[in-house]
Symmetry: C2
Subunit: 151 residues, 2 copies
Amino acid sequence: MTTTLFPARTTTPEIEHGAVLQPKFGSDGLIPCITTEARTNEVLMFAFMNAESLAHTLRTKKATYWSRSRNKLWVKGEESGNVQIVKEVFTDCDQDVLLLKVEQTGAANAACHNGYRSCFYRRLADLADPSFRLEFVAQPLFDPATVYKKK
Amino acid sequence: MTTTLFPARTTTPEIEHGAVLQPKFGSDGLIPCITTEARTNEVLMFAFMNAESLAHTLRTKKATYWSRSRNKLWVKGEESGNVQIVKEVFTDCDQDVLLLKVEQTGAANAACHNGYRSCFYRRLADLADPSFRLEFVAQPLFDPATVYKKK
């Protein structure tokens, strides 16, 4: 997937060791994006961006993803108020993933639509347990029924 | 994609609020996986797993991915020695992403094949700069030419 919004992909040495962003958007036009809290490095969420959402993110400093379910630009927190102010944008060795470091804002400072700070609020209780039981490691910070009731 | 290795996907409430792992493997059989250093939360890398690699990870406690380029199971560090010992496995709200917290081991404690601790060794120097210049935020910890020369 090519885009005129960002530099074209060149050679492997340039992509892996160079000093110009050359993001790889997949055949669906999307690149995976990991978002962490800048202060603590806590992983808040994982989503996808297309070229337009990355450009919007850089221009506004508000993390903006591509919603695959709604098929539209998704300014994180535009409905809930839990906007993410982007502090730093990293890419990985082969530039096919992005990493945002953000300041999570909003009344509850929560990134997850279920009310938790992070979407990763459950972990396997015991890696060797064949029942694959999850345990909760966080408490919700807001009630989704209240925050999203306006729509 | 269904698999007999893990519980089948049930209902949205069970997936988002339940206490059983029900990982969503995509139509290609893969689920995205974020890997962080357990002590510091630093994001080390991003890769994919299929059901077999997740099962291998849980059984051996060594992070095991699916290499899309080599089309085979990829025990991280099997060649370089930079094995990742898995401490915790999280999933996100809709259980279509995994998050591993690992202890990065090996002579250099480096996750990236280019010799850096993390694959995310470059960031945009200035979000508003239309040249999209990347700056390096880390130094390589080993020389890939030495570590991988045996093959």
